[in-house]
Symmetry: C3
Subunit: 437 residues, 3 copies
């Protein structure tokens, strides 16, 4: 719907295709919290955008209250059934192994195996995505249908994995603007094959960064962060928290932005920050109806950024919110079934409007006392007949609220119009010397 009749529809659809191609390229890389997968992911992302810098936090280092875990690598994992079939093969679907599983090579009864198996009774055809980052154990994930069919007998379990000292890696791309105030986009890349609740975020971030890098005159500095969820943010804040706290004007968590279902909004902890108001304004005027969640419903990096003492106002504009759609954290969260090129294009279009609104927002101030005489500046209908001033109503509203204290966003909200309804008038009035930004 958002793209219907959009003047840039063809370009936007093409950009959606590009995003989908990048998503497909990142799909097979096996990502987890720390290890080779995330490094390979950052390498591919770096090819798409210039200037991506990678940071490392060493195993055992503190990241705020958190401790950086060891890296983990897995080379193969499967189970051999009593009748010799190989099931839960990591090579067939990388969700089969529980993330951060210890190595194992053993035989056991089905009863002994069961506590290490994970499946979803209410989604019998989905393989769940399971991890155990911070406690040493091992396990396999499979569909409930396959699990229910397992026969008694001796099973052979095999996981060739290793934990090792190393680093937790995250990437940042900074596009400087005229102002040192920053707009932060955070997205995570620590999940294996998850389309909406992972890869939609990084590919949207890349598309936005590419578009912004071509914008000749950026007002704000834009920072894109790619890293593991939660601990990646903790590591970044440990290293650069003071700078971010004083520089970030608005922050967005890019996640679940690839499907075509309802739009969703998750507010910051404060709930009414500039970021919240701007995001709601864009949603209201661009998509109209959307699901409005509460801070209580959060479940991602905003917990770190909005925590007391850090207080960076981060919000999420999503399609189907994580935890709320059936495919979430299962083998069903795949391209096409959930994420589409069209869905990605719509998210790109919406965030582009959001960025344009951010760049255009200002505190206009009238340079004259009283309502200005627009007629002698050629900005007012010369002949007065009833109804003749309707065309200049927006302009007059803009002037009358330009008291040097009210943001354009708030002026637009008071008049119940989108900010961009005033952009052309603002330009003309500034050119005419009647308003200052």
């Amino acid at each position: 719907m958002l793209l219907d009749n959009h003047p840039d529809r063809t370009d936007l659809e093409a950009r959606g295709q590009d995003m989908m191609e990048l998503l497909q390229r990142l799909w097979p890389v096996y990502r987890t919290l720390a290890g080779p997968g995330i490094r390979e992911t950052l390498r591919i992302l770096g090819e798409q955008v210039g200037g991506l810098t990678i940071s490392h936090a060493a195993t055992g280092a503190r990241a705020l209250d958190w401790i950086v875990p060891e890296e983990w690598d897995v080379r193969s994992a499967h189970i051999e059934t009593p009748d010799g079939r190989r099931i839960c093969d990591f090579k067939r679907n990388n969700l089969h192994v529980v993330g951060y599983s210890t190595a194992v090579d053993a035989s056991m009864t089905l009863a002994e195996l069961q506590p290490h198996l994970y499946s979803l009774t209410d989604q019998p055809d989905a393989i769940p995505y399971v991890t155990s980052y911070y406690q040493r154990t091992w396990g396999f994930c499979l569909t409930h249908r396959e699990r229910a069919a397992l026969q008694d007998g001796t099973y052979r379990v095999h996981i060739d994995s290793s934990h090792a000292e190393g680093s937790l890696d995250y990437g940042q791309l900074v596009l400087p603007g005229r102002s040192q105030q920053e707009i932060l986009f955070s997205t995570y890349c620590c999940h294996p094959a998850m389309a909406n609740n992972e890869l939609s975020g990084p590919v949207l971030a890349v598309a936005l960064a590419q578009w912004l890098s071509l914008r000749p005159d950026r007002r704000y500095t834009y920072r894109f962060v790619f890293g593991p969820e939660m601990i990646g943010s903790a590591a970044l804040l440990e290293a650069q928290g003071d700078h971010l706290r004083s520089s970030v004007l608005a922050a967005f968590n890019l996640t679940c932005v690839g499907d075509e279902r309802d739009w969703s909004f998750l507010p910051s902890r404060a709930g009414d920050s500039y970021t919240d108001r701007l995001a709601r304004h864009v949603l209201r005027h661009v998509v109209g109806e959307y699901r409005s969640y509460r801070w209580h419903d959060r479940g991602s990096d905003e917990s770190m950024y909005c925590a007391p003492g850090i207080d960076i106002p981060m919000v999420s504009i999503m399609r189907s919110k994580y935890g709320e759609y059936p495919e979430y954290h299962t083998s069903l969260d795949v391209p096409e079934r959930v994420v589409t090129a069209h869905g990605l294009a719509e998210s790109f279009a919406l965030y582009r409007i959001l960025i344009q609104a951010l760049e255009a927002d200002c505190i206009p101030r009238s340079t004259v006392l009283g309502e200005p005489q627009l007629g002698r500046r050629g900005l007012y209908p010369q002949t007065s007949i009833k109804g003749s001033t309707a065309s200049v109503k927006d302009m007059l509203d803009l002037i009358s609220h330009s008291d040097g204290q009210t943001r354009l966003l708030d002026i637009a909200d008071r008049c119940d119009k989108p900010m961009w309804a005033y952009t052309a008038d603002l330009d003309r009035l500034v050119a005419a010397g009647v308003l200052q930004r």
Copy 2:
């Protein structure tokens, strides 16, 4: 309805008749922005009230951001049709000529004439009111029915008018009170034959000024301003803006106060000033239901008074709001059809209540600690039986909110009663020494 069962009904109806007579006397005077018509109008108004002083702003002078235009005078104007009929004759209806038309005396085809004709397709029997104050052109206004019947051929157009250096004139009447704080009533007189959207305002202003001048002990100083819309206010603010900004407590734009349709309210830019709250309080308790407009719907002098940097809180209590009723700015906005003596009387009655509320408002303060013992002052039922205190409930509410910080208006709003429900109790409690104003 407002006058039904009103104790002063006969007097109020008589006052309505007086207002209507003055309106009829002002009706034939041809008013425009600057010129002899407005001077004649101010002369007639000055006969009604003592002490009206006239100010002048010279052509070319600045009035805030505006430039005072030349005066304009028109002596005759008409069109001669190919078959020799005289139409659009200014002498038959002074709306036929576009205000501030340049002189013309020429022959032309109908096609050449058409761009100079103004009519309303959706009101084919109404002559529109059209002006072109700030751009030199000429034109005629006529009913759409008459225009549609025009035949091809040669038309002779004639306008005997002249622009000349001169002055923009406005009148002020100041009725001093004990306080130098001012209540400002602004009304405009720059339209020709317009009953509701012009003359109802000046005649109500005259009636209020007459009533106030007989009030022995005015608390506030009252200022009435009569002048051309917008530029008149600009000229006044240019000359006396500093004084008005520091003195005016509440300001009202008197316009469209003569018909008997729905009551309307247009707020100030701030929207919640004392003036706004007081006006809404009076409307709620006197007329009950009324149309509540937004600042966005404004269209008169409040744009000048409420502009950033001036910030004089001006509101309008109207009947049918300008721009919203079908007769607005057409030859249909005439006495009897739109404005009636009864309608004018109702507006007078309402504004009189408003002024009485302004005069009575205060910040009461209890002189005793704790609830006072009203019984020993003869203000409380001596015998207690269930229900016996109902009669003193308002008095107890008044006392309990008299914390020396809350206006009577706000006390009344908290108790959801009209201010005047407390006036007698307040007097008794002040006399008993329990409250101070």
Copy 3:
């Protein structure tokens, strides 16, 4: 309902029985504003709780704006009808005599008697409760049915009563806590046989004081005040107003707490004080629906405590509010018909929760920057699978709002949960060093 499935149901019902027994013991004592009845009442109450101290204000002394009246005592009162029957006998029902009646011993016609008789036409079987504390007169109260049946003839009226210099008496019980901040419970004992609108209050106060006195470690100091309505509060505030104004955090008027009908809430004058918010929180989460009155509907000691300049925030959580239930201030406000042991037990249970909430409330503060790593403290599910964090959602909400500025009450309100949903989590997080109170 409140006691259904309550773990302490048996204990609470037993406590309700105890309260009812005390009520029955206080029932026959004839109380009025000042005199032997209130002293006997205070003596009986003192037997129930240790440490009740009695204060006296002498006749003629000032109590804020009030003047302490004489004591009054009545020994006998009745009317003899023309046919020799004795009616309105004080010994049969102590409501028959108007409180503070002067002594009288006279014969008169029925017409002469009528102005001294009080009955309720709309409740023909109820004897009204009538007093005339501050004006000297005499009178009798009777059912309207009995009054209507009176025959013409000579009536002999007899009241053996006396006014005398003496004192106005009130009792206080203070249970010290760790903090000198006080929680005040005020209840009155100046009415004769009135079950809900009098005795339910003192017996609930006694039960709460007994329970609190056994609580080993009180955070706040608790003050219970028993005295005549209004003037008792005035006398207390005259004597100890400065101390109370600076010490009282929350105040409650215990009245009408014995029946089983709808719950009611009367706010303080401020309306949104901590006391108001806490009381509404408890009502919303414990009883759900309740009648919400306005300050305008008050009618008891809160008028004195909340008066400007005193501003002690006092609220009332009641069942059937005074003035609103049919038996109010009549001979129908009796035990069993209105007040029950079960109703008293429910009020006790609700106020106990309120006190527990007061004691538990605090301003939690996170000791770590960012969201803490709960996993390494054993407070977080070790294995992540969708849905696994639901069990720790409350804990995460609590942490995320622990900014050192927000009360637990307000955190709970933001999350739309009762405060006590967080108590166990708060204890665990404080023990883990993640939060501080």
